[in-house]
């Protein structure tokens, strides 16, 4: 088991190393990047060369990469080219904002998705099951920006005017205003992710319901409530954890779109801002942070799995 954990930790480091190289490669090494990206297509040759020298782009690329990595590990993340502020402080604020969104939507997904999936499994092939499964199918297929704009149209539009169309309000200036700005973007993310969790929970529960120990539990006269809660869910929900971890990756992609739709100042919007403004240092760190958060939470999911399922622990 120690070996397993060690192996996973090593693979995290490997993943981050490869990802950092890809990010570096995409933003600096490919022809026409970095200096070109920053100065735009109308840059003069002299200004290009000056910037290349300043960023150390005239050195061989493995040296550039090593210097870059050294800087990141040492905490020197550099300054944003457009905002003229340290990248670290910008990202710190944005990570917090995105974390609120992620926590809200993931909790909603767990609280709604697991009961719905279980219900669908218990009423397998019934009308309720069909309705839930159809709904989740449509949920997977409709892009988040359509769902988001539709929610804006209904809840923030001239008819209802219940919630703001977008933006963000600090928690310190009022809980209600803060919550109001979080509801629609979290709801959009929830609707997208719900589908995956509902489907996985359903198939997990159906699988367990077929097993011998459920039959035994029923035969010995255990009340149905107990059969479901104690015997079925405990085993049926294990794959759901993996799906939740995978959904986190999906969330990292979706959050870019959803934050853009709702003008929500989080990491996703920051990435789009950095791309459209050619802010390379900001972009590199933002993408790297998202990758790190994602990899580490996947690791956490693996560890949770290890804790919950002794069969893996003692293998």
């Amino acid at each position: 088991m120690v070996l397993y954990v060690l192996n996973r930790v090593l693979s995290i480091l490997l993943v981050l190393l490869v990802v950092s190289f890809i990010i570096f490669f995409a933003t600096r090494i490919l022809p026409g990047s970095a200096a070109n990206l920053m100065l735009g297509e109308y840059a003069t040759k002299e200004s290009l060369q000056a910037l290349e020298r300043e960023m150390g782009l005239d050195k061989p690329f493995y040296l550039q990469y090593l210097n870059w990595i050294k800087g990141i590990v040492g905490g020197h993340w550099g300054d944003s080219l457009v905002m003229k502020q340290p990248v670290a402080s910008i990202i710190k604020l944005r990570v917090k904002n995105s974390a609120f969104l992620a926590i809200f939507s993931l909790s909603a997904v767990i609280l709604i998705g697991i009961p719905l999936g279980t219900l669908a499994a218990l009423r397998q092939k019934g009308k309720l099951d069909l309705a839930i499964m159809t709904g989740s199918y449509i949920g997977i297929s409709i892009p988040e920006f359509v769902t988001g704009i539709l929610l804006i149209l209904f809840f923030a539009g001239p008819w209802m005017q219940l919630l703001p169309t977008g933006g963000y309000q600090e928690l310190s200036s009022g809980v209600l205003g803060w919550l109001k700005h979080l509801i629609l973007p979290s709801a959009t993310l929830t609707l997208i992710l719900l589908a995956h969790v509902v489907r996985q929970t359903r198939s997990g529960v159906i699988e367990v319901l077929k097993s011998n120990y459920i039959r035994t539990a029923r035969l010995k006269g255990a009340p149905e409530r107990r059969v479901i809660l104690r015997h079925t869910l405990r085993n049926g929900l294990l794959p759901t954890i993996t799906v939740l971890a995978m959904d986190l990756g999906y969330l990292m992609g979706s959050i870019v779109i959803v934050e853009e739709v709702f003008a929500y100042p989080g990491m996703g919007r920051l990435i789009i801002y950095a791309i459209t403004n050619r802010d390379v240092p900001l972009l590199e760190m933002a993408v790297l942070i998202i990758a790190a958060v994602y990899t580490i939470s996947n690791f956490a999911a693996d560890m949770l799995y290890l804790y919950l399922d002794p069969r893996i622990r003692y293998r």
Binding site: V15, S141, V146, G249, G253, V256, I257, I275, N298
Partner: protein, 283 residues
């Protein structure tokens, strides 16, 4: 056609719909979308870029059955033709993913060994990176355009495809016909192309079909962010992007393009899942 055969064909159709509803509904939707996209210019009432500045953001009317957008362009024509770019983007990206992923999966699954381990480890790492972020990075490096978006989504699809192809290759690697070809002294290339490839085709096709819906979704997302299809082309993702600003004045641009895009993706997903259930390959 006499009464009996038409009844029989009706029964076949009916059975198709009851036994594999996903495949039937999916293929119906796709046929409709394909028909509209191909016949678009013939059935659409006007040009997609023709502006009528005095008739902006109109609700559906007799003159404009779907209404008009912020430049007074006919929404019916734009919705009918806006699918072409999305379809080309989705299908093209998956094709590209297949072109890159199939050889990788075939080679690693056939030769195995150290190279296989290293390549697959690398693919797993790429796989763990959210596809949209991967596509965004590639577009950052290359610049925003439709062909770059296609390339980016194709590359983002490659790791997943190569995984599937590799496991399919592994499952036929030690079949008798492969061993026989080896005993005959055929070249590796021949065995891979003529013995293994035809046998891994079904799961590969299923995998490709399932991926089109998702590729279209990412493509539309990129266009929505302004990093995919560029104006003034008619494209559903782009139409949705434009609709945002005038949402409360007229929701019609969003409604038509959103419905069309959602329906097409549902069509591909249903078709892919149905195909997998029917043939029973893939994952």
């Amino acid at each position: 056609m006499n009464g009996e055969t038409s009844l029989a064909s009706f029964r076949t159709t009916f059975r198709f719909f009851t036994q594999t509803p996903a495949l039937a509904i999916g293929s119906s939707i796709l046929c409709l979308i394909a028909l509209v996209s191909i016949l678009g210019p013939l059935i659409s009432p006007g040009a997609t870029t023709e502006q009528h500045i005095l008739e902006r953001l109109q609700a559906p009317s007799f003159k404009y059955p779907f209404g008009t957008d912020q430049y007074g362009r006919d929404l019916l024509s734009r919705t009918l033709l806006g699918g072409r770019t999305s379809l080309i983007l989705g299908v093209g990206a998956v094709m590209l993913g297949l072109i890159l992923g199939v050889p990788i999966g075939l080679f690693t699954g056939y030769f195995r060994g150290k190279a296989d381990e290293i390549v697959m480890r690398f693919m797993d790492i790429l796989l763990s990176f959210p596809s949209l972020l991967m596509a965004l990075l590639i577009i950052t490096a290359l610049g925003a355009s439709m062909s770059h978006a296609m390339l980016a989504i194709g590359v983002a699809n490659c790791p997943g495809i190569s995984r599937i192809v590799r496991s399919a290759t592994l499952s036929v690697r030690n079949e008798e016909f492969v061993l026989a070809a080896e005993a005959r002294g055929e070249s590796h290339l021949y065995i891979m192309a003529s013995e293994i490839f035809p046998n891994i085709l079904p799961p590969t096709i299923i995998e490709g079909t399932i991926r089109i819906g998702f590729a279209m979704l990412i493509g539309a997302s990129l266009s929505f962010l302004g990093l995919g299809v560029q104006p003034p082309l008619a494209d559903w993702g782009l139409m949705i992007r434009d609709s945002r600003e005038y949402l409360f004045l007229s929701p019609w641009p969003l409604i038509w393009s959103g419905t069309a895009l959602g329906m097409t993706i549902i069509g591909f997903n249903l078709f892919g899942d149905g195909l997998r259930d029917m043939i029973g390959g893939g994952e």
